[in-house]
Amino acid sequence: MTVEVAGNVIRLRGVCAAEDAETLLSRLQAAPESEIDVTACRHLHGAVVQVLLAFRPNVRGMAEDIFLRDWVIPNLAAPR
């Protein structure tokens, strides 16, 4: 399980693969106000990224992975 839900926080952990996009999507559809915590995330598949981009949940946390932290997460946090 790489998508964990704790209250209104969705934790993305480890390597998030394409399958996780669906889990994430249904969770976001159920609770649009959820926050995303990427602290423990090591990779985000493109499908996951595009869900985050489409629904624009708040994304928080410094990812362990440098590529995600420096290059990908800023895109998700940036205002539209």
């Binding site: 394409a18 996009a21 669906e22 994430l24 999507l25 559809q29 649009p32 990779h43 985000l44 598949h45 493109g46 499908a47 996951v48 990224v49 595009q50 869900v51 981009l53 489409a54 629904f55 590529f67 290059w71 990908v72 895109n75 539209r80």
Partner: protein
Amino acid sequence: MDELLEQFLIEGPEQVQQAGEALLALEGRPGDTALVDQAFRAIHTLKGSVGLFDLPAMGRVLHVAEDLLGAWRDGRRALSRGAMDALIAATGQTERWLGALAATGGDLPADADAVAGDLVSRLSRALDSDAPASAAAQATPVDTAWIEALFRDRDLDPARHPTVTALRYAPDAGCYFRGEDPVALARAVPDLLALRITRRNAAAPVAADAYDPYACDLVIELLSAAAPEAVKGPFRFVPDQIQLLSWSPPPSPSAPAAPPVLAEGPRSLRVEAGRIDALAQLVDELVVAKNALSDLAGQMADGLAPQAAAQILGDRQAALDRLVGRLHRTVMGIRLVPILPLLRRFPRVVRETATALGKEVDLAVDGQDVQVDKAIAEGLFEPLTHLLRNAVDHGIEPAAERAAAGKPARALISLVARREGDHVVIDVADDGRGMDPARIRQAAAARGLLPDRMLDSLADDQVLDLVFRPGFSTAQAVTDLSGRGVGMDAVRAAVGRLGGSVGISSASGQGTTVRLVLPLNLVLTKVMVVAVAEERYGIPMDGIVETARVDPARVRPIRAGRAFVLRDTAVPLLSLAALLGLPEESWTDGEPCRAVVARVGGDLVAVKVDAFVGRRDVVLRPLTGLLSAMPGLLGTTLLGDGHVLMILDVPGLIAAAPGDTAPVGQGAP
């Protein structure tokens, strides 16, 4: 002339030069964005300056040229050969127009509009039809605004990242089903500078309950400091979904303009302030020396003993001598300019000529650290242009002929200047077909230049020298000839006016070398003063091999001419009086006659004079006005006694002499 125009005429040619150099260099290094920038800046500045004057034709051409370069610089266009040709033609035309402006004081030639129209249409054709920058890019012009925005958003420093590789990846909707992960691909890009991930259609609302996370709608844009090839690597399986280009940030308007990439020598004489200061100091010292003479004059008036006066005068004269010597050297130093900027103008000339003739020719230029008098540098442009055009036109064979001879298709002409003692030697060498002495003989015979027997007696290398004879070359002769010959006499005359000489050598099938030998400076010339028919003339020592006393018994009449044997070589003996059209003394008065032995185009010729008067260092004043077209005269100088001394150009005199008085070469039969 208008001050503004004057300034423009000084700066304009430099900018044309910069643009031209950059364009030519770009042919070898098409990816060098600094060169594109340089060309763009130069053309842009020119266009701005032209706008100050009423020169619509020139303005139009420069405007379109700027557009084309701008499109290229921004990566919207890759430059085709056609576009490059058009740009080089435009710079060449601009240079010619600048020349016309300088000559007329502000008017373009009457055909300027037509010429401009032609150039504008060539340039716009190139602008409309040029292929896009990379094969991976689409056929439509590449939009680079996103690159610029990304570059700016990331606060990248243009100075640190003069060139970046930009990649835009728009994976197709089904990519996830093929197991592709666009983010993983982006992760694999080396030296990432910026990454932006957006939805393909960011403005479209998301259908919250019908959103399909597996229909990929991402667009990934990234900048990398790595080379395009390295950036492209991870995307090798999706080449149809990426745009890749090398991009350079435009120079920021607030930043100081970068210095031009190529060094540019001034064409007007710009002098370091330090040298002027040195001059001023010398003049001060001269004033002191002059005052010392006034003192002396006063003391002599008060009854100074003549012997003491003579000694003091001698001292002061020596001091003045030193000062004048230093002054002279300083001024000469100011007049010396590097020759390289002149030589650098020629790659464009060669390219233009080669393009017009459908040939591929490279010009290698070398002349580092060689300096010549400014007047020489200016006077060399015409003859060198002539020589290079000839080399491209007549020296270099068509591609097919080169291939058949086993030569590389691209011909090479080298233009090399170097210093040898007091002279500057400039070689123009091509690797073309060389000159065929037999055919030059035929042509010379056909033109009636020399009697057949004389032609037969000439050695092959002397035959080559015939191309410098007036009347040798006509268009007809040139097409028949495998050599060259258009206006070579004009080249020799022009170089002669600068106090230099021209020689030619050639190896059949291997190429031709024309060698120009020029004095380092025109300012001070050593001359030998000779007397003939009670007049005095100067002959430059440069051209004199020796002086000789010739026993009349040794002089043999040979048909209409005369010759004598000088150390086993037969040397033709001409009379200076006859060459000058002065009354001639009898030849057979029994006394040894005096002759100056000079080298004319590689051969010895003796010129009989009445007396040697002495040697002088003279300041040679070039002839102006009507006199400047006079063959055989180099210039004049003022002698200490106020007389004007004419300085003769012996080879010129001989060449200009009619008929048999002018045997070619030393080859007396």
